[in-house]
């Protein structure tokens, strides 16, 4: 697969390295001459000095035959514009943009960028997972469908303790998939599974029903 990366910062550099190691044809575009030289000295001729938002640069590195285009500079606007050029001028099938401002996710989607990765959101999610009192953790977003897989911890004072799953007033579009007991034992949930204190519930839900799901399992 031919993958083009825009931006030779830490993210771009490690991504390039990982992709090359996996045997992909990967190529990086970076504005800064010194960074470019360092990368080329270390990894071979895989870095091109230029502006990833310029049509001329992208033509020269063969963007027309790229399978994937990843823009990971530190500026949202540069990532957006280079991805749009790759998409509309060179018809790259898959474009991925890094965003710093999580607000921009909606805009980028609307403007045709296939995937956005928000470093802010990713870091937040990981920290959330580590906060023991956090009521609901996002494990995975299935974005195209608006679905997400979440983990809900059952506190010892939850009204749901001792009730069967079918007795809970779960939102219609939420499904409890797994119940992980305090001891680490786990089971696929059935309507008759009884919720116990300190269970961890893995559930699939629509994003809008997240709050209702949390309430059903943990109380108001």
């Amino acid at each position: 697969m031919y993958i083009i990366i825009i931006g030779g910062g830490r993210l771009g550099y490690y991504l390039l390295k990982a992709l090359l190691n996996e045997g992909h044809e990967a190529f990086l575009v970076e504005k800064d001459a010194v960074i470019c030289q360092n990368i080329n000295e270390e990894l071979g001729s895989v870095c091109y000095r230029g502006d990833g938002c310029e049509v001329a640069t992208l033509t020269e590195i063969g963007t027309g035959r790229a399978d994937m285009f990843v823009a990971v500079t530190g500026d949202d606007e540069d990532n957006l514009i280079s991805c749009q050029i790759a998409k509309h001028k060179f018809h790259v099938p898959r474009t991925i943009a890094r965003i710093r401002n999580p607000q921009n996710a909606i805009l980028f989607k609307k403007l045709g960028i296939d995937v956005t990765v928000s470093s802010t959101d990713v870091i937040l999610e990981h920290i959330e997972e580590e906060v023991p009192t956090h009521p609901l953790t996002h494990l995975l977003d299935i974005r195209e469908k608006g679905l997400e897989i979440v983990e809900v911890k059952i506190p010892s004072d939850s009204p749901a303790i001792g009730t069967k799953i079918r007795q809970l007033s779960l939102p219609k579009d939420s499904v409890v998939a797994l119940v992980i007991r305090k001891e680490g034992e786990y089971r696929v949930s059935t309507p008759n599974t009884i919720i116990e204190s300190e269970d961890r519930i893995i559930a699939l839900t629509h994003a809008e029903s997240e709050e209702a799901l949390r309430r059903a399992l943990r109380g108001a």
Binding site: C53, E54, V55, A56, D75, D76, E77, D78, L80, I81, Q84, I85, H88, K89, N101, Q103, I106, L107, K110, L111
Partner: protein, 132 residues
């Protein structure tokens, strides 16, 4: 007409002055308060410190009631992104965008933005002057 101008450089400041003098309601945005020195002393509009790529700052500038949005910062990409936010998120009826790079300008024109490339226009103008 309510107009939001993003970027208080020479062009932005001058345009703001011209429109305000004709009685239009003008709000000009810039990330550097020092840029506002370029506004005419009798400027009757609003000068607002803020980033036009930030949707909250745009709302504060009144983008939801704006009739027109003009992006004239120094960065082509910033102008393009702000223009697309104004057009696609806030549905501003008229959006104008300066893009220095002629290639990028042509691309975004075909994508439906109303764009102007001063590079192209000025080069053409100079050529015509030389030939006359």
């Amino acid at each position: 007409m309510k107009v939001i101008i993003m970027g208080c450089g020479r062009v932005g400041a001058r345009l703001a002055g011209l429109l305000a003098a004709e009685g239009h309601k003008v709000t000009i945005l810039d990330t550097d308060a020092y840029s506002f020195r370029r506004l005419p002393p009798d400027f009757g509009g609003t000068a607002l410190l803020g980033n036009g790529l930030d949707q909250d700052a745009l709302k504060k500038a009144g983008v939801q009631e704006a009739d027109a949005f003009v992006a004239v910062t120094q960065g082509d990409n910033r102008n393009i992104m702000a223009a697309q936010i104004a057009k696609h998120i806030f549905n501003v009826p008229r959006v104008l965008c300066r893009i220095y790079d002629p290639l990028r300008q042509e691309l975004y024109e075909t994508l439906g933005l109303e764009t102007i490339s001063p590079t192209k226009i000025f080069a053409q103008l100079l050529k015509e002057k030389l030939e006359s």
